[in-house]
Symmetry: C2
Subunit: 262 residues, 2 copies
Amino acid sequence: MDKKIAIVGAGNLATRVSLELHLNGVEIIQVYSRTVTSALTLARMLGCNYVTNPEKITPDADIYLISVSDLAFSGLLEKVNFNNKLLAHTAGSIPMSELAKYSQNYGVFYPLQTFSKYRDVNFSRIPFCIEGNTPENEQDLMELARVLSKDVRVITSEQRKQLHLAAVFASNFVNHMYSIASELVAEKGLPFDILNPLISETASKVKSMTPRAAQTGPAMRKDQNIIQEHLNMLSGKPRMKKLYSSISDHIFEYHKLPRQTN
Amino acid sequence: MDKKIAIVGAGNLATRVSLELHLNGVEIIQVYSRTVTSALTLARMLGCNYVTNPEKITPDADIYLISVSDLAFSGLLEKVNFNNKLLAHTAGSIPMSELAKYSQNYGVFYPLQTFSKYRDVNFSRIPFCIEGNTPENEQDLMELARVLSKDVRVITSEQRKQLHLAAVFASNFVNHMYSIASELVAEKGLPFDILNPLISETASKVKSMTPRAAQTGPAMRKDQNIIQEHLNMLSGKPRMKKLYSSISDHIFEYHKLPRQTN
């Protein structure tokens, strides 16, 4: 891969993806971030220069990877002259066509994974969802993705949007369930890691069974006594109680079980 | 372990725990289940006899493991003469003291894990939460648990009840999030396993960071545009939409972010 890359953004995803590209010998020539500290930190790790003014983004890159928050997206890009180079964003929910106004060559480079700045992650199995406005641009982005992963797919904007929504449930909301569990065990002086085998097994199960078949627990068993007891235990936490109730109701509904009345 | 065990129940947990005891050389002398098929299937795998009438439960066991639904619990046990042998239930939310009326020797043998009948699970790291009404009974149950796992702990009924509630969030509700994600990807012709690396990484992250620090996603980023777009995508699924909204709100609240109004 002899293309020169500029990284626009220095958040969780931009950091992990650019470091992994760098480790695999891809040349990163510049980092942009509006925050000096973020720009500097990432640029140092990559051994390249950085800018914090979008107007100073280099014109010399072959591919620009745009990884800024969806809110900052258009405000930022309209300030840059990309000179019709290949522009790819890394966002789940932004249609590829949004990039059309900034360059004649554009596409999407979306890794379906959760990234945190300082956590290393194994890239080799991450599905990279690629889209390009021309076969050549699609090819270039697939080639770049194959440097990082064995799982590179062409995914339409519509599919990617749905994947992003699914990922919110399968990852962001899941992690929030862990947060709640962590708070609950801490209240009784128990360490969070007592839940590790349960968390691992719950995630592993759905690799060999459907989530529908893997479902267990009081809501699945229609055990209203336990559900009621759990709601009582949460009476001092009305929002958490409401959440328990909504998700349990949704499990009933999803598994088409008749609600018990008592 | 030279104690003879009777298994009262033949559900997911009873099946996996008794098979694992059997594989480790513990003598299981009888299975009770009110369903002939369940009783027979499990008894065959264990090479022991079975009964479906609680009054015929053997008086010859040293330890009775009670693993029936919380609803069936008391109705069943009052029909059995346990001859003051050691009685232990495997339930998260039933206080140990509930067993006092059925024997002078009782305790709790609660593995903190999700079990499905036909899925093998690695027992060696499952936390076994043990409680006994006397030091001797506690010891006997700890000894039995140590046959299966390296992680055997004395946990009070109050702690166990809280662990069970935490486990509902960390496992049952998590699995339901997987169910929803699975439905969403299927709608766009995508295979569920495209989410595997994301699911694995989300579960692994919280082994080295707190769930609070691991949180990512639109709700965490206060990205109201994406949240609104996701809610629009769910407009044909009002219950799922409501769930998305409740969990996102709870993430805001938990991370003490001000709600944006728009």
